[in-house]
Amino acid sequence: MSVDTRTVRHIARLARLKMSDAEVEAMVPELNNILGWVEQLGEVDTDGVEPLTAVIDQKLRLRDDIVTDGGIRDAVLVNAPDAQHGFFAVPKVIE
């Protein structure tokens, strides 16, 4: 499989990365190089092999249903580029 400028634009859009035409053009061979290289995995026979799900074999721990957090609005907002009236402010969204 190889990518073209259309695919690169689509992927850049999915990833919310603004790219100039020149950047898209430059990205095409780079991605194709890397993808062509990783596709050597196709040589490996993985029939009947389950995908790895946990690096170290262990079960998920569950925590108790206790309120231990929150009430830290200042800490939550302190680094915001634009905080107003206790909210994060973003350019208007039209639904």
Partner: protein
């Protein structure tokens, strides 16, 4: 007291306890060294007051007889670790100015063990890189120079390049690093120091800016194997805030150190003899085998048949996870915001375009692609299957041996700007990545210098949870390699 900066953590700790010097003297010596080494670009933030305050606390603790394991020892913290109130940017423009209102578990553990902080260490952006050239702060310059009389600036390796350079240059006795696919071990090898990546889950990931969650592990980098053991003991431990943290007691690795390897078998994987690796690297590997034999171990040839596929597997899984982990940098809650055009969507795209560097964008693109509709099975799921096979390879190998010895990296440090092709850069981690995929403890220790006078590392991989076995084999090599070379001070 300038010779304080030449001491190991163990020497500083013991000398401080014995009253040979005060913690303030140690901190001052390192603060001065840090301020005098800005040419290396190793630190992104210097925090001399922090180091002094911790030192004063340590001096008081000594008076009161309340010493902690790292009282008197200042350390450097990789910029990937959140440090409360101190810029934490993971080497990225998108987090410029971010001061977390929280402290990573690992750095908090170091602090509660008595350690002070000298500053934040430069790194490849979001830990994506093997040369520290992707940092928004510019590359770290290795303190090492080739012995060819030229003055070429060399890479300290990456992504923990600032960390490695700091230890090698004597501007931190020990530092934190993180290792996703070799980011502790390769820079350790390039700069002639030691570094260990513990078993996945030993060190909490809470408060460490995520690159690839299933691979990221914190670990120490320092001058000696003993120093690594001391630091790792302080850094590791169960953390209920990290679902993947191992709920196990922290072993006393320093107390358990022993270079007597009688009864141990050292696996030598035949698949790690690859084309194009300089003869000197393989020669050092052979010397390493002999050193371990001398320590009492029995070398055995082993096979890790899927080694060849580790790197491509890694370059599917790590970018995939990263593409998702880095989605939170969107200009809404912290970090950079670029207004862009077209409302919220325009702001997202402009912010991320301006905030991320080229390598990060490249990996986000790869990761997004391999997860996108129709490609998930062919790429991501396939890679996770191969990853299961790689893990199985190690399981099989450890039936025949106790620890595995390989070279750390396929070359010595290269010059800044020398490797322009991303794929060529990725190949730096060919020996380091398999252990990362399998979550195994692995360490680099210096083995010697190459013909250009640059350090080369030897790499030890252990069973799950067997950091002790790795450290002990590392110690056996350290004792026999007699590596004492230091870069001449040019900065």
């Amino acid at each position: 007291m300038s010779d304080l900066t030449a001491k190991t953590i163990a020497e500083l700790r013991d000398g401080f306890r014995a009253g040979d010097f005060s913690a303030r003297e140690i901190a001052s010596a390192f603060n001065d060294a840090v301020a005098g080494a800005r040419a290396l670009n190793a630190y992104t933030v210097e925090t001399p007051e922090d180091a002094l305050a911790s030192a004063d606390a340590a001096d008081q603790a000594r008076q009161a007889g309340e010493l902690k394991p790292l009282s008197g020892v200042p350390v450097g913290i990789k910029d990937l670790f959140a440090t409360v109130g101190v810029d934490t940017t993971s080497g990225s423009n998108i987090l410029k100015g971010f001061k977390p209102p929280y402290e990573s578990t690992v750095s908090a553990n170091l602090r509660s063990a008595g350690a002070g902080m000298l500053g934040k260490l430069n790194m490849d952006e979001f830990a994506m890189g093997s040369s520290n050239e992707t940092s928004a702060y510019g590359p770290v310059i290795s303190p090492w120079k080739r012995n060819d009389g030229g003055n070429a600036a060399l890479t300290p390796g990456g992504s923990s390049g600032g960390s490695a350079a700091a230890v090698a240059a004597g501007i931190a006795p020990g530092v934190t690093g993180t290792d996703t696919g070799g980011s502790i071990r390769q820079p350790a090898a390039f700069t002639g120091i030691s570094g260990i990546k513990p078993t996945y889950g030993r060190c909490s990931r809470w408060g460490i800016v995520a690159f690839a969650s299933s691979l990221d592990q914190a670990g120490p980098m320092a001058r000696s194997v003993r120093d690594c053991a001391i630091m790792l003991e302080a850094m590791a431990g169960f953390d209920p805030k990290d679902s993947t943290s191992l709920d196990l007691p922290v072993p006393q690795w320093e107390a358990g150190l022993s270079s007597d390897l009688r009864g141990k078998r050292v696996g030598v994987p035949r698949e790690y003899r690859i084309d194009g690796v300089p003869h000197e690297i393989n020669a050092l590997w052979d010397r390493g085998i002999e050193w371990l034999r001398d320590a009492g171990a029995e070398p055995v040839e082993i096979s890790l048949p899927h080694t060849k596929y580790a790197l491509p597997t890694y370059y599917i899984i790590a970018p995939a996870e990263a593409s998702s982990n880095l989605a939170r940098y969107d200009g809404v809650r912290y970090g950079l915001r670029e207004q862009g055009e077209g409302g919220l969507e325009g702001m997202y795209a402009a912010t991320r375009a301006a905030g991320f560097g080229a390598e990060v964008k490249r990996r986000i693109m790869i990761g997004t692609y391999v997860l996108s509709a129709g490609f998930y099975d062919a790429y991501f799921n396939k890679a996770q299957r191969v990853r299961a096979l790689i893990k199985q390879d190690f399981r099989n190998a450890f039936e025949q041996c106790d620890v595995i010895l390989t070279p750390t990296a396929p070359s010595a440090a290269f010059g800044l700007g020398e490797k322009k092709d991303p794929l060529a850069m990725y190949l730096n981690d060919v020996f380091a990545v398999p252990a990362s995929l399998a979550g195994l403890p692995a360490m680099s220790v210096p083995g010697g210098l190459d013909s250009q006078g640059l350090p080369l590392g030897l790499h030890l991989i252990g069973r799950e949870l067997d950091e002790q076995g790795v450290l002990n084999a590392g110690l056996a090599i350290e004792e026999r390699a007699g590596f004492t070379a230091r870069p001449g001070k040019w900065w």
